[in-house]
């Protein structure tokens, strides 16, 4: 009983609590914090010099300089498990119809964890800004077509009678980790423009991902035969697992772990671009694109490819002789109980005629587009309207954020936002930066409610850290990039 509950909880958490790339809409306006350059590289920081990251003793670690983001565009935890009504008001009930009701055509689940080791920026008198960043990023993302959820939960019979196929072609899965070294430059020009670019060198640690071009399942109402039409790849690059003709070799030793962390065998490159136009002293627009790039997975990389159509007719039964030479009518190639897992794997490989090759492949990063309009209402208050789009593996996810941003005084800035993210408006964001001497703390989230009601959150993110700042303008706080 306990085990079953644990499994249910784990499954719910896996599919409901898991946005992959930088989704930090409120951070976009925190121009006193160098990290806002991670989402808009054309932003010119207020401070002349900023140093942050784990490499900075004491202040670099309190709080830890990290970014965490989770997003699910379809459902939250309570859309699967929630308190019931009547006799069940004190009990959690599993609500599959609600889950299906909330599921979008493509269910996008994204997750990212980022650790900053070093952030450094230097702004010259001419507002030219140079920056260096070193970070580790772990990303997990999956896109589940609604048809797949429908297939599992509602079954294949409804589509069968409607003569429709279950289309899984937008199915994708990706889990990877990589080191990132970024070199950025931003500057103003023609008095009203600022432009920035960051070149990022990437060094992949591990990757497990899919590449689906075509995947569908059709059930024949006359025979119940299931026709699977597929063109997909399963790819991996990691030292822990090697797939051979005879099986799977696993090596989860510390040596493999160290090899993964220290490898430079999976090189990649990415670029962030940004442009800001100050229309008037009070109005500005900016456009930013981040994480446009890829990693060439070369080390310990294998690709399993499947292409073709197969018809599943069920298990074959046929005549054979038993151990006494007597004719028997039984399942052909009946698996032994202890090898059913291998049997299913072999069957799938056989059905799709999957070939496994040691082969390098390219994995693209989830890329973001930000478009912002800012208006300064008052010397200490500006409003922002931000559009964000994320493109990854044939899936495009959009969000809009309204924000109010105030540099209250020369040491404190406060930021509040309301966002439409992951198909919900229940996202109230909050952020602040506080400078005490040469130390600036910051913390920001797009959905503060998620920390109170995680069971109702589709988006949970938090960006925090501490920078050593030097050369701060003593009086009026102006943002060169925005105002």
């Amino acid at each position: 009983m306990r085990t079953r509950r644990t499994i249910i909880f784990a499954l719910v958490m896996m599919i409901s609590v898991a946005a992959m790339s930088q989704q930090a809409n409120t951070l976009y306006y925190m121009n006193r914090v160098f990290q806002s350059q991670t989402v808009n590289v054309s932003a010119i920081p207020d401070n002349k010099i900023q140093i942050g990251g784990l490499i900075v003793p004491v202040f670099g670690q309190v709080p830890p300089p990290m970014y965490f983001n989770y997003g699910n565009n379809s459902f939250n935890y309570n859309h699967i498990l929630h308190y019931g009504a009547g006799d069940m008001k004190d009990s959690l009930v599993i609500d599959l119809p609600l889950l299906m009701k909330k599921a979008k055509n493509t269910i996008a689940i994204r997750n990212e964890l980022r650790w900053d080791y070093l952030n450094f920026s230097f702004r010259s008198k001419s507002n030219a800004t140079f920056s260096v960043s070193i970070a580790d990023r772990l990303m997990f993302g999956t896109t589940i077509p609604r048809d797949m959820l429908d297939f599992v939960i509602n079954g294949n019979a409804p589509y069968m009678y409607e003569g429709k196929m279950h289309d899984f072609s937008k199915l994708s899965f990706s889990a990877n980790g990589f080191h990132e070294v970024g070199l950025g430059f931003a500057t103003t020009f023609a008095s009203k423009f600022s432009v920035g670019a960051r070149m990022k060198l990437l060094f992949g640690m591990f990757d497990v991902s899919s590449k689906v071009s075509r995947l569908s399942v059709t059930t024949d109402p006359e025979t119940f035969f299931i026709t699977a039409d597929a063109d997909f790849q399963l790819r991996k690059s990691m030292p822990f697992v090697e797939i051979t003709d005879t099986g799977i070799n696993k090596d989860f030793s510390s040596k493999s772990f160290l090899k993964m962390l220290s490898t430079f065998g999976n090189p990649g490159v990415a670029v962030d671009l940004g442009l800001t136009y100050n229309i008037t002293d009070n109005m500005s627009v900016s456009v930013s694109a981040t994480d446009i790039g890829f990693i060439n997975w070369m080390q310990d990389s294998q690709v399993a490819s499947a292409n073709g159509e197969t018809i599943i007719e069920g298990a074959e039964i046929g005549l054979s002789k038993d151990e006494n030479g007597k004719l028997q009518y039984s399942l052909v190639n009946m698996p032994q109980k202890d090898s059913i897992g291998q049997y299913i794997l072999d069957t799938v490989v056989e059905l799709f005629d999957m070939g496994i090759k040691d082969k390098k492949y390219i994995g693209w990063l989830p890329s973001n587009l930000y478009v912002d309009f800012s208006y300064r209402l008052h010397e200490k208050l500006s409003l922002g309207l931000l559009y964000r789009g994320e493109f990854y593996r044939r899936t495009y996810i959009q969000a809009v954020t309204l924000s109010a941003n105030s540099n209250i005084n020369h040491w404190l800035s406060l930021h509040a936002s309301w966002s439409f993210i992951d198909n919900t408006v229940a996202n109230l964001g909050f952020g602040f930066s506080a400078r005490l001497g040469f130390i600036t703390w910051y913390m920001v989230t797009d959905n503060v409610l998620a920390f109170v009601f995680p069971q109702k959150a589709k988006t949970i993110n938090l960006h925090m850290g501490c920078n050593l700042t030097f050369g701060h303008p003593k009086k009026k706080s102006r943002t060169a990039a925005k105002l």
Binding site: M1, R5, T6, I8, F9, Y77, N78, L81, H82, Y83, G84, M88, D90, S91, L92, V93, I94, D95, L96, P97, I153, N154, G155, N156, A157, P158, M160, T219, P221, E222, T223, F224, F225, I226, I312, E313, G314, A315, E316, I317, G318, L319, S320, K321, G325, L327, Y329, L331, V452, F453, P454, Q455
Partner: protein
């Protein structure tokens, strides 16, 4: 103002704490009720099979064979093979002995020379051919090629002097050299014995005046005495035993011999009492018994069945097949001359058929013969006054395969198949989660056979609770259409869908057995239409399962509120 701010902060902290407690409860899996609302519907292919008669033919063993006959269609064969014993155990040369005593008088009659006496001579040793130990008097053996044989010599002398003895068999040769042996006796060694195994010798029995069955033996004895006077008395006794012959081949005229073949019983499983199937009305157009023999004896032989009985189950009688019809071709009264080998190492073969024209098989088969028992005999040289010469090799054998053949040419009117499958699906269907279930059976029939099927749901005491096929007239298989040549022209598809309502599914929770009843007949059987079954005939089918779940309740308690609410 500060007071307001403090109150505000306190309110936020308090609210956060309370809400956090509520939040924590959302993740407390001890509160998981198991309450589920679910109405999925699945259709899956379960099993399929593509079975051809060719495949069945490949798997059947030697005692039951389904294979293509000379007419190109299928026959069911029940076989048994019988053969003569190893030829050397049947026909062989018996052991023979030769004895000779030579006295001093015999020596003296030949004269003396230089303190020695000598005696030599030539005699004959006769052999006879034995059939399992009994002498075949008229047999005339010409020659024999030995694999092996034993010569045992025993010599005894009472002369007390030196004796030199040599023995030679001029017609037992190897590489042109005759078989010979020699012995020496003296005052100290007055006896001698020796056993010699010989291999690869040829024995020619035609060198004596009789020209068969005899071989000559030559001997030469020399007695040397030391003094001037030969011994006054004494004798030399010589005994030779020749035997244990294992031959490669033997030529001659072997006479009349009865060679008994092993008896055997052919079980006809088709008509044995079976729990699973029963045939009420059938007709085989051309049943037959085929005796196919292989004969590597170079001996004219006559073959007949000493006994050929069958048990007819329907009449409960044992019936003598061989004597009831005077035309029966291999009875004791009407034996059959089998062909024989004309060259050593090559066998002759032929077949004899027992069918409706020379036997009562047309009367026997409808009465369900469940076995045939037979015992066969072969008689050599039954009519050979000129003593035509014969030969046999070490591996000569008369072997016969007796096949009771039921050509699949005819009709089956009422074939019933019953089977019981033990099932326990209570854990699957017992919780009322299944709203509806359907089993879909598609057949692609390439047999000229119509069939209906019924499944009965039975409890642990085999009490039938329900039947699953509601349309009992619906065909499970529809006979494939035949062309002008009586051969299946195309396969025909039939679909059977067995629908189970929730009530029926509920009954399945007490189901411990599924009784399967199949009824089949060949197409047009009731109009006495006959047909042939060809090897390419076969059947393909697939079974699919459709299940509609309708759950509103607790998966732990197993109570489906939907069922309770509707009173179903």
């Amino acid at each position: 103002m500060r007071k307001v701010i403090r109150l505000l902060v306190l309110a936020i902290i308090a609210t956060t704490c309370i809400l956090s407690a509520c939040t924590k409860d959302n993740f407390d899996m001890d509160r998981l009720s198991g309450e589920v609302v679910y109405d999925g519907s699945y259709a899956i292919p379960l099993v399929y099979s593509d079975l051809s008669l060719l495949e069945v033919m490949g798997l059947l063993n030697d005692t039951v064979e389904l294979r293509e006959n000379d007419g190109g269609f299928l026959s069911l064969f029940y076989n048994a093979e019988v053969e003569t014993k190893m030829v050397q155990d049947l026909l062989n040369l018996g052991d023979v002995s030769y004895s000779k005593t030579i006295s001093i008088a015999d020596f003296a009659s030949r004269g003396t020379r230089d303190n020695s006496l000598s005696y030599n001579g030539e005699e004959k040793i006769s052999f006879t051919l034995k059939n399992e130990g009994v002498t075949t008097d008229e047999a005339e053996i010409d020659s024999l090629v030995l694999n092996s044989g034993i010569f045992e010599y025993e010599l005894s002398s009472t002369f007390g002097q030196n004796l030199s003895v040599s023995v030679e068999f001029p017609s037992i040769t190897k590489n042109g050299q005759p078989l010979r042996d020699s012995f020496t006796l003296n005052a100290q060694n007055t006896t001698a014995s020796r056993t010699v195994t010989i291999e690869g010798y040829n024995i020619d029995f035609t060198t004596t005046s009789k020209h068969f069955n005899e071989i000559p033996i030559k001997y030469n004895v020399s007695l040397s005495y030391g003094g001037a006077i030969p011994p006054a008395s004494g004798a030399l006794s010589v005994n030779v035993r020749i035997g244990n012959f294992r031959y490669k081949s033997i030529h001659g005229y072997f006479g009349k011999n009865s060679l008994l073949l092993q008896s055997d019983t052919i079980e006809v499983k088709l008509f044995r009492e079976k729990q699973k199937y029963h045939i009420d009305d059938f007709y085989f157009n051309d049943p037959k018994i085929k005796v196919h023999y292989w004969n590597s004896y170079g001996v004219p032989s006559r073959f007949y069945f000493q006994q050929f009985d069958t048990y007819m189950k329907k009449l409960d009688v044992v019936y003598d097949v061989a004597t009831q019809n005077p035309d029966f071709p291999m009875s004791a009264l009407n034996p059959y001359d089998v062909a024989h080998s004309s060259t050593p190492g090559v066998y002759a073969e032929d077949s004899i058929f027992i069918d409706r024209n020379n036997s009562n098989l047309d009367d026997i088969v409808p009465n369900r013969p469940t076995w045939f028992h037979f015992c066969a005999v072969a008689e050599t040289n039954p009519d050979n006054p000129s003593h035509e010469r014969n030969f046999i090799s070490e591996d000569s054998k008369l072997k016969a395969r007796v096949s009771v053949e039921f050509p699949l040419w005819g009709r089956v009117g009422q074939f019933y198949y019953n089977d019981t499958v033990d099932v326990d699906v209570s854990s699957i269907v017992g919780n009322n989660y299944v709203e509806r279930m359907a089993v879909l059976i598609n057949t692609d029939n390439g047999l000229p056979v119509d069939s209906r099927i019924q499944f009965y749901v039975a409890d642990e005491n085999y009490n039938v609770m329900d039947s699953l096929v509601k349309d009992t007239d619906a065909g499970f298989l529809t006979a494939a259409p035949l062309d002008a040549n009586g051969r299946v022209a195309s396969r025909i598809s039939t679909q059977t869908k067995i629908e189970l309502t929730r009530e029926q599914v509920d009954k399945m929770s007490d189901c411990k057995h599924i009784l399967i009843r199949i009824f089949a007949n060949t197409e047009g059987a009731y109009e006495a239409k006959t047909m042939k079954i060809y090897p390419e005939y076969g059947i393909k089918f697939n079974v699919g399962l459709e299940v509609d779940f309708d759950v509103e309740g607790n998966i732990n308690s197993g109570v489906n509120k939907k069922v309770v609410a509707t009173g179903k």
